[in-house]
Amino acid sequence: MTDRALADVRPFVLPVALVTIAEIATRVSGMESYTLAPPSRIAAALFQAGSDGTLVSATLQTLASVITGFAIGAVVGVSLGLVLGLQRPLDLLSELPVEVVRAMPSIALLPVWMVIYGLGYKMEIAVIAFTTVWPNMVMTRAAVRGVTPRLLEVSRVLGLSYLQRIWKIVLPAALPGIFVALRLTLGFSLIIGITIEIIGNPQGLGSALMLAREGMDPGTMLALIVWIGLIGLALNAITATIQHRLFGHIAGYGARS
C-alpha cells in the first residue's frame, strides 16, 4: 500500500474495527441484552424506522423546533450584537447583566418556558432561541469591533448615512465572524432541542429515544443515537460548505472564531 492510500484509510480503521468487534462479540456470546445490540441489528432497526415513517416524522419535529429556535436566536442575537458592537458605551453598560444571564445553563430555562407555554413546540423553540441569543450577540459584537477603522473612514469620506454605513460597510466586513457564530449556535440548537425532548417534551427524536429505552428495544435506541449523530454531522458539514463557498476567499476568516 502506498503512503497516500494508507493516509486515506487510517481514519476508518478504528470505527470499522470497533463495529466488527461489537458484531462478533455479541454474536459469539449469544447475548440477549436490554441495553446493547449488535451493529447489524442497529442497522436493521434504523432501516425499519426509516421505512415506516416514524423516523421521518420525529426528525421533522426536532428539526422544526431546532431551526425555528435557531433562527429567532440568530436574528435577535446578531441585531443586539450589532448595536453593542457599534455603541461602545451601551456595551460597557450591559456587561454585568449580560454576564449573569449568560451564566444560566440553557436547560434550566425549561421550567420557565414550560410554565408559560406548557409542553410542545413553543416551549422548545423558546428555550433554544433564548439560549442561542447570547453566543450570537457576543460573537457578533466581537466581529463588529474587529472591523478595521479604515473602512469606517472610507464610509465617512463617501458620505454614507448611518444606516448605509452599517448595511454596506460594517455588516459585510463582520459577516465572516457572524457566520462562525451562526454555525456554532446551530450545533447548540440541536443539542438543546434533543436534551429538552429527552427530559420531557413528548415529541421529536429525543422523545423517540426515551420511548425505545422504555420499550427495552436497544436496537432502535442505538439506531436513534446513530441517527442523531448523523444529523449533527450533516448540519456541521452543510454549514462548513456554505462557509467555505461564501468566505473561502477571505484569508484567515477562521482566525477570529
Binding site: 478504528l14 454576564e99 444560566m104 445553563p105 425549561l110 421550567p111 410554565v115 429505552r213 435506541m221 442523531i228
Partner: protein, 255 residues
Amino acid sequence: MSKARVGWYLASLLFGVALILVWKAIVDARLISPVFVPSPEATLRSLVDGLLEGEAAELFRATLMRMIYGWLLASIVGVGLGALVGNSPTARAYLGPTLEALRPLPASAIIPVAIAFFGLSDRMVLAVVAFGALWPMLLSTMHGFQRVEPRLFEVARIYHMSRLEFAWKIALPSALPEILAGARLSLTASLAMAVAGEMLVGVDGVGQWMLNAGRSYRSAEIFAGLALLATIGVGTSILLGAAERKLLRWRQLQR
C-alpha cells in the same frame, strides 16, 4: 484595573439594578401574569426562604458538587487522553477523525445508554456530566498538543528529552491556553448536563427543584433556582479566569 474600568463596572451594576426595576414595573403593572413571571421581591423571598428554612442550600451544594466531580473526572480523562493522542502523529491519524466525528453528537443522547448501565441513579447523572464535559476538554487538549511550535521539537532533541519529558515540560505548557479554553466550555457543559440529569432522574439538586416548581406553577421558585444556577455559573467562571491569569502569566511576560 484602571479607574475608567471600575467606573464602567459600577455603571453596569446600576444598569443591572435598573433592569430589575423595569422587571418589577412590568410585573406590578400586570403586563405579564405573576403566574408566569414572578416579581423580583417574590423571587428574592423564595430564594431567602429556600436558603434559610428550606432545602435550597442543600440542593445548591448537591448540584455544585455533581458538576465539579463530573468536570474533574472529564478534565483528568480528557487532558490525559488528549495529550496521548495529540502527542503522537500515529495515534492522531487513527483516532483523531473518529473523535472529531463524535463531537456534534449531543451529550444528552447518551442518557438512555447511561440509564441502561447505571439505572436512574446519582451515578448515571455523574456519568452524563462527565461525558458531556469530556469532549471540549479532550479535543482542545488534542489540538493544543498538535499545534506545538515545531522549533520546540528541535529544542527537545538538543536536550535529549524523552517523549514523556517533552509532553510534560514543553507540550503541556504550550497547549495550556487551549486546554483552559476547553476547560471553560467544559464547565458550561457540566453545569448544563448536571441540571438536565437532575431534571430527568429526580435526584436532589437545583434542576429537580426547578422542574418540580414548574410542574406546580410556583414560578418564584423557578426564578430563585435560576439565580442559584447563575451564581454557580458566574462563580466558577470567575475562579477559572483567576486560574487562567495565574497559569498564563508567563505568556503575558513574554509579550
